[in-house]
């Protein structure tokens, strides 16, 4: 009797031990993400939020990658090998690339249809990347809305204020740029010369695109031509500084105090704010436009996507819906610990978002950025975004050095068409 009781107890214990991993797996998700100072704290906050408010047994395994390209490589490799079994449940993916990857590897993804998310609470432009064939595939994480940050102290030295810059024309901007250069010796605009996003953001602020019906729209595009002329004029008048590469742009140009203005996706904020002696001297606003009026654009940003290797799709959908799908707790944590700004409009109304930031002259920049994100126009995107960016960036440099704009644009169009196989 005693022996049989012991045997039964042992069998019972063995059954419990064997069932434990399965039970644990029911509450566990894995995710590929990059940037230990940005996306990863945001995901940690989301995991803690879900664990605290929804599922106390929940566990999120964050598999750190060196950058977005690692995630793209992993999906490419799995897709080409026809074996998705090594992908995690969820991946963080760059907005500009996702359409291409869903089209190329349709079996790698699971649509997020049916998740309890109020999509109307997100900026339409942001969602336009992750809606494919009318279905939602991604839940937005960070907000790529472009900002124009100005050193108000330097503007003042030249006799201007940030109000003069809000909604100004590019013509007026050049006038102010010349005055700032004369008074302070600083450039009013800068960009990474090897990854020049200026024309893309300026075009979006005009509501235009370098693409039309899936094809390059360059030589016939009058808006693009005007935008390019403005950039070239700024380069020739020494108002615009083009760094040699990304490090030159961030380290020497921005942190090295060479400029009075920075225009880029709002993720550039930590770079600007890493110079403590400039605290209180910066403020930010929207972008200038060709005809005047506030311009809105976005550059960069990423969203979370469920892979076909996810065994527990319901849990993944629920996790995304109750965290990045609209939880103020997740977004407040992501902002304070990683500097990740949401594009969930209602989450941007929280107290944390409305706080004035000392470095930014007590401007409530986060609430301002979320408000701007709702106004970014949707423009046509293309998988060849980055290739065209490189070609147009090279055209800008050549034109600043004296080349003819029309022939440079014709050359860029010819090359991108060749790359696209058109």
């Amino acid at each position: 009797m005693k022996k049989s009781l012991v045997a039964m107890a042992l069998i019972g214990a063995a059954a419990v031990v064997m069932a434990m991993p399965a039970m644990a797996e029911e509450h566990k998700l894995s995710v590929y993400a990059w940037d230990p100072n940005f996306n990863i704290p945001a995901l940690e906050g989301a995991a803690a939020d879900y664990k605290e408010n929804v599922d106390p047994d929940f566990e999120l395994e964050i598999l750190t990658q060196s950058g977005s390209s690692d995630v793209e490589t992993a999906v490419t490799l799995a897709g080409n090998a026809g074996d998705y079994s090594e992908l995690p449940d969820i991946v963080l993916f760059q907005d500009h690339y996702i359409q291409n990857f869903v089209a190329t590897y349709p079996d790698a993804w699971v649509a997020i249809e049916g998740a309890d998310i109020d999509w109307s609470d997100f900026g339409e432009e942001k969602l336009s990347y992750s809606i494919i064939d009318g279905q939602h595939y991604g839940v937005p994480v960070d907000n790529g809305t472009a900002i124009f940050a100005y050193r108000v102290d330097l503007l003042e030295e030249a006799g201007y204020t940030i109000d003069d810059m809000t909604g100004c024309t590019w013509e007026k901007f050049i006038e102010v740029g010349e005055a700032v250069k004369e008074a302070t010796g600083k450039y009013l605009l800068c960009m990474d010369g090897s990854g020049n996003d200026l024309m893309y953001m300026m075009m979006q602020a005009e509501g235009g695109s370098q693409w039309k019906d899936g094809e390059p729209y360059i030589t016939e595009n009058e808006t693009l031509k005007k935008v390019m002329e403005v950039i070239i004029e700024m380069g020739q008048k020494d108002i615009l500084y083009l760094g040699n590469d990304w490090t030159d742009y961030t380290n020497n140009t921005i942190q090295g105090d060479m400029v009075a203005g920075v225009m880029n996706g709002n993720w550039i904020i930590p770079t600007i704010a890493s110079v403590p002696e400039n605290s209180g001297k910066w403020e930010l606003t929207s972008l200038p436009t060709l005809e005047g009026g506030e311009g809105y654009a976005a550059n960069g940003g990423s969203s979370l996507y469920i892979t076909s290797n996810c065994d527990n799709v319901d849990l993944a959908k629920d996790f995304l819906a109750k965290t990045f799908g609209g939880s103020k707790q997740t977004y407040d944590y992501a902002l304070t610990n990683g500097g990740v700004i949401t594009c969930c409009l209602s989450a941007g109304e929280s107290e944390v978002y409305g706080e004035g930031i000392e470095f930014w002259n007590n401007q409530p920049i986060y609430a301002d950025i979320v408000a701007m994100s709702g106004k970014v126009p949707i423009i046509e995107q293309n998988d060849y975004h980055y290739q065209l960016r490189t070609l147009l960036g090279a055209a800008v440099v050549n034109c600043i050095n004296g080349s003819d704009l029309d022939s440079e644009l014709a050359g860029a169009e010819e090359q991108i068409r060749f790359q696209m196989g058109l």
Binding site: P36, F38, E61, T64, S66, G67, L77, A81, E86, G256
Partner: protein, 275 residues
């Protein structure tokens, strides 16, 4: 007269010395910058400060707080050591066989092996990943090292250096009743030790520094290596250069130690010396 001649020779050497000093500076400067950057805060590094700072402890603490430094060091050390041992064993056996049991068929086989050197690694990446994944070896030391255990370069190196191996010793050993594996382990192994040292240094450094393959097969955080850890720190919207350089310093030390310890044997081994 003699004095004049010496000074004339010295004068002729001045341009060579200047050239060598410049080259030595170019080689050593990145190391100096790495060490000085590891002692400075990120903004100072970004602004190009070259002198030593006072942020060494902070950078180290930040590195420990943000990463699993010792876990990655342990992984790199275990993987690189295992790969080194396996690779030099397999490749030396192959080189020994190709040279000392020489015939025409083996020559043809060796030719095919050399052709394999011409195939770029990325071309075999997907089939290799598929094989390792199907075999369930992802995130294991086997998955890390198997594709690099037998390399045409090391086999060729052992084969070339085996040409200096005195075959009379093999004959004498056979007469004394030594088996063929016995000849390999008891005769070949000690005589070719400088080649082994050179091969060990090359393999260890390659394994320690390898990035692309581990990034593909080591998908779990617990399995990540030092180069992966550093790559994770070097990309992002806000990079802490001081902490990054502290990580790079940790990553560089083991390969430097191994190289300096085996420097003499490495030089002899590359030259094809036999003891």
């Amino acid at each position: 007269m003699t004095k004049k001649k010496v000074s004339g020779t010295q004068k002729r050497l001045i341009p060579a010395y200047i050239f060598l000093i410049i080259m030595a500076f170019l080689s050593v400067f990145p190391f100096y910058w790495m060490i000085s950057a590891a002692t400075n805060e990120t903004l100072a590094v970004a602004r190009g400060k070259l002198t030593f700072g006072t942020y060494t402890i902070e950078n180290y603490k930040n590195l420990l707080a943000q990463t699993d430094l010792w876990g990655a060091m342990k992984n790199s050390f275990v993987y690189a050591t295992a790969q080194t041992i396996m690779a030099i064993l397999v490749c030396s056996l192959a080189g020994f066989g190709f040279e000392l049991y020489h015939d025409k068929a083996k020559d043809r086989l060796f030719g095919i092996l050399l052709l394999a050197m011409m195939i770029p690694g990325v071309a075999t990446m997907i089939p290799l990943f598929k094989m390792i994944s199907k075999a369930g070896l992802l995130n294991t030391v086997w998955g890390f090292m198997l594709p690099a255990v037998s390399t045409p370069f090391l086999i060729m190196m052992f084969r070339q250096n085996s040409r200096n191996f005195p075959t009379e010793i093999m004959e004498a050993a056979r007469i004394d009743g030594q088996s063929e594996p016995g000849i390999f382990f008891r005769m070949y192994f000690p005589i070719m030790r400088s080649t082994y040292a050179a091969a060990a240094v090359i393999t260890f450094m390659n394994a320690w520094n390898s990035y692309m393959w581990p990034r593909i097969v080591m998908t779990r955080n617990q399995a990540q290596t030092m180069p992966m850890l550093i790559a994770n720190l070097s990309n992002g919207y806000k990079v802490d250069y001081g902490m990054l350089m502290m990580g790079v310093l940790f990553c560089s030390v083991p390969t430097m130690v191994i190289f300096f310890v085996l420097q003499k044997q490495f030089a002899e081994g590359v030259a094809g010396a036999v003891k």
